[in-house]
Amino acid sequence: MNENPAITGYCLIHDRQVVLSGDLLFTSNEKQPGAFFTEVYKNYSLNYPKFYKMDNLCKLGFLASEFLLKDKEITTRYSGEDVGIILYNAASSLDTDRNHQQSIQDRLAYFPSPSVFVYTLANIVIGEISIRHKIFGEGTFFVEEHFNPALMHEYVSRLFNDEIVQCCITGWVELNENNYHGALYLIEKTSPGKEGIAIFEPQIIEDIYLQRR
């Protein structure tokens, strides 16, 4: 039977909620992204102290990947080289760039923080997820003006067609000040019609992102 790339799971972190493949996992009244992410981290006892050192963009991507990959055993089912991470957002690392800028604004008190500076690149999110899950495959972070499911579908499909990946974590990881929207999808080759599997196509990617499914 033909196997095609399909959505075998997804995790949404948005508007003080965590949703895993359609199930509401966690909800909170906390409006500040950083405090909300820490609340989620503590609630699930994730036990990864480096979490506290991450900037908010990385915390968002890290948490979404933790839920997305839980019980999926991707590291035993795939070689690390065959798993890709392709992410997108609009604000890049602007939130942390702003923090860094503030630390170097005053020439008389010029103390840039190395631990802030290392997060002034959006693709560090890919690095954090890769380190956590021992993923060594293709990693690319696109900065797009808006959520673009067509591009997401096209690029990831090409990676599968060219046999660059056997499994791919893709999605939107956006954070800027108090606004955040994480939507990660796990894409694997599988037979159509299996339970819990959604077709990997732009309309479905968008429906999931907008929680219309």
Partner: protein, 85 residues
């Protein structure tokens, strides 16, 4: 000296975002890197910035850095010996 060590522990927790730790949980004699707190190279840079920003002290060489950043106590000793302010 003990007062300086306590202050330094709080500052380290703050600058390294070790918010899950309390000062009492940090052994001032334990190695800061690899063992002990398991700090990395970025943390080392952050500690160098801490010494400069909070105490006006600069490390001269990499060798001196290794010696000074060995533990909280060695950092405190370096501050006490060099901070005349």
């Amino acid at each position: 000296m003990e007062q300086l060590i306590a202050k330094l522990k709080s500052e380290i927790i703050e600058v390294l975002n070790l918010s899950e730790l309390s000062p009492d949980e940090i052994d001032e004699n334990a190695p800061l890197f690899v063992e002990g707190l398991g700090l990395d190279s970025i943390d080392a840079l952050e500690l160098i910035v801490l010494l400069e920003k909070n105490y006006g002290l600069k490390l001269g060489t990499a060798e001196e850095g290794k010696k000074v950043l060995r533990s909280v106590r060695s950092m405190a000793e370096f501050i006490r010996e060099n901070n005349k302010g």
